[in-house]
């Protein structure tokens, strides 16, 4: 049965054998042609086909139609240029979406790079700084560095110390309040550039309870306010003012006396 099928296929291929030998398309056709090559029937068929093809090539082309052939580029597929690709609405939409996503990603990445233990609390306190009015504080006129004793004696807050860089500033007032996480926060208002100081517990490891310390000063920004934060003895200190980092820099680089 298989042999019969093969013979039938070879016969079918021979009937479709190309007129020009350079058009032998595939191996099966090549095999069929080479087997049939010697037979009278196939030779007659090839001569017959060749004669008809030659006759077909004698079909004259009318001059009206020949005009089409002169315009070789009439049916050229327009090439894609960079300009076309860029101005394609789909490409524009996708690239805008990618830019927006990349922007959001970069914003979060930069934000995370600036993060440090306690940065979330510091940002919340900058919002508090923006909404605080002087009447909300208890009037206190003293050097900021001396308020540590007040916080300890009156509120039992240990190590709520103002760093040396800001210890000499004259205060207008201060208060102690609980934030939304029931943390005790000390707030001090000083005359220098209407600066505000905040003292709050440093962030701790959830499992071990150890203080998550970080070295030096770190900046946070929120709603036009900037804060410089440092940690010491499990308490964070933040000096905040309305402005930019460069407004705080001179105080932080001031050498200790």
């Amino acid at each position: 049965m298989r042999t019969l099928g093969l013979l039938r296929r070879r016969r079918a291929l021979l009937n479709c054998a190309p007129i020009s030998h350079d058009r032998v398309a595939d191996r099966s056709m090549r095999a069929a042609v080479s087997r049939g090559d010697g037979s009278d029937e196939f030779v007659n068929q090839q001569n017959f086909d060749r004669a008809i093809a030659e006759l077909v090539h004698l079909v004259p082309i009318p001059p009206e139609s020949a005009e089409w052939f002169a315009e070789k580029d009439a049916i050229r597929v327009p090439k894609w240029t960079w300009r076309k690709i860029v101005l394609n609405p789909a490409v524009l939409a996708i690239s805008s979406a990618v830019v927006v996503i990349a922007g959001i990603f970069a914003f979060h990445l930069v934000g995370q790079l600036n993060d440090f233990p306690g940065s979330a609390t510091a940002r919340k306190l900058l919002t508090v700084a923006g909404s605080t009015r002087s009447v909300m504080l208890d009037p206190v006129s003293a050097e900021a560095g001396t308020l540590s004793d007040l916080f300890f004696m009156k509120h039992g807050l240990e190590h709520y110390d103002v760093p040396d860089e800001f210890a000499d500033f004259q205060t207008f007032g201060c208060r102690v309040f609980d934030d939304d996480e029931s943390q005790r926060i000390a707030q001090i208002w000083v005359g220098e550039k209407r600066m505000q100081f905040f003292l709050f517990p440093a962030e701790r490891d959830g499992k071990t309870g150890a203080v998550l310390a970080f070295p030096g000063w770190r900046y946070v920004r929120q709603e036009g306010w900037v804060g410089a934060v440092t940690e010491h003895n499990g308490v964070c200190f933040m000096a905040a003012l309305q402005g930019r980092e460069k407004d705080l820099e001179p105080y932080l680089s001031k050498p200790k006396e």
């Binding site: 479709c16 007129i19 001569n47 008809i52 006759l55 077909v56 079909v59 139609s65 049916i75």
Partner: protein, 160 residues
């Protein structure tokens, strides 16, 4: 589109063989090329190979639907003879085109595409959407019927 896929003189010859009428073949060629030019300008030209031939074929079949149809006859069939070449040489291309255009489809398409000597059998199967067995039968039968017609037309030549 590569030059072979838009061999326009061959496209005209194909239309001529399909219709057997130079004026109609020109019309179909013009319509097909105009359509292709418009599509190309809009960037919507199909990327499939031999689109022009496929399009022209359907237009030819459509155009010949309105023509007078040849009577369905059992045509004579003769074996191909060695003298066939000389019989064919006595033919005019228009006579051959009229004979092919009178054949029923798909035999008409198969003969027109095959004798253009432009495509291999796989490409013909693709353009005409045929199976190998059908193409083979159409060509074999077509040759034998054409031989019978040649014998009837030039009886002397077959005896020489």
């Amino acid at each position: 589109m590569s030059d072979r896929k838009q061999n326009l003189p061959q496209l005209y010859r194909f239309c001529f063989l399909m219709l057997g009428d130079s004026r109609k073949a020109q019309e179909i060629l013009n319509t097909t090329l105009r359509e292709a030019a418009v599509r190309a300008a809009q960037g919507e030209l199909p990327r499939e190979p031999f689109w022009l031939f496929r399009e022209a074929r359907w237009r030819c079949l459509e155009a010949s639907k309105t023509d007078l149809q040849p009577e369905a006859l059992d045509m004579d069939e003769h074996d191909i003879t060695p003298q066939a070449s000389s019989q064919i040489k006595q033919l005019d291309p228009a006579q051959l085109a009229i004979w092919i255009s009178a054949a029923p489809d798909p035999q008409r398409t198969a003969l027109a595409l095959f004798y253009l000597d432009e495509f291999d059998y796989l490409e013909i199967l693709d353009i005409a959407e045929l199976k190998l067995s059908t193409l083979s039968r159409c060509l074999r039968q077509g040759r034998r019927q054409l031989q019978a017609w040649l014998d009837a037309k030039h009886p002397g030549a077959s005896k020489t």
